[in-house]
Symmetry: C2
Subunit: 162 residues, 2 copies
């Protein structure tokens, strides 16, 4: 049905992240896709991702903003170069800063839609603006400043994973 | 050894939070205490709270900033009134906004020290500035704007928990 998610292209040594790593069996394993110029991720929090009864925990919402943001930054970097997401060396982004505004309580028990768009590109930094909506109502706005992982760090990860 | 943690005073219907609820068996169950004018929380991330091998997941760090911030805001509100943390009605705070700067990667496998201090009090809003340090080195700075839970919401939670 869907194309591969952004996170499905990450090499194994980048696929351990608690938020988005497909190899982290304890983690959230979020999946992000393009939808035109926006990136989208659908995630249904688990019953224990609770703040107070009926509402989603803010730290989980921050985690969705975080990982959907870095994934979107990587996908945008490939798109900007017109290169395929499987091209080597892998482009991956880490979070330099994260901002989240909780506009209203987010109801628990339904799938949430996280949407991102590129706000700004400054050298190796990409700023992604995001929203989280529950049943069509935006409850959270967020922004991630994502920085491309330095090649030295990529090389060290490859070496250590070998 | 220690006095009771801030979170140990929360009534049961406020003790389900994934980040700080003592009754959430899947959650982080963080514990915060006063240390002079600062609040402190020691938390050791689990091995699966990973970003890339050797480093802590940013969403987990954001969750620590979030819950230690709202807990510190509640404790500060009691302290300001010179009232005990078990006084009724319970003072609890929700996060209006969260900002996290990741200054450097945070090493995984050691206890982290989260420290907070009151930056500003504006009516029902309390701003808490925070740091996270690993082995004495500050790796994260954060800020939480915490808002006191409206009495109507407290009343609804009490009613639903009955």
């Amino acid at each position: 049905m869907h194309a591969k998610a952004f996170q499905d292209y990450y090499p194994d040594y980048f696929a351990l992240c608690y938020g988005c790593g497909r190899l982290n069996e304890h983690g959230l394993q979020i999946k992000s896709y393009w939808d035109g110029d926006e990136s989208v991720c659908i995630f249904e929090p688990r019953p224990y991702h609770i703040a107070v009864p009926g509402y989603v925990y803010g730290g989980l919402l921050a985690s969705l903003i975080d990982c959907h943001g870095t994934g979107s930054a990587a996908a945008a970097a490939y798109r900007m170069e017109n290169s395929a997401m499987e091209s080597a060396p892998p482009k991956r982004f880490l979070t330099a800063s994260l901002h989240v505004d909780y506009l209203k309580p987010t109801p628990l028990g339904i799938p949430l839609e996280v949407r991102g768009k590129v706000k700004e590109i400054r050298g190796r930094k990409i700023v992604i603006s995001e929203t989280i909506a529950a049943d069509g109502m935006v409850t959270v706005r967020g922004e991630v400043v994502a920085v491309e992982v330095p090649e030295k760090m990529v090389a060290a990860l490859i070496k250590n994973s070998g």
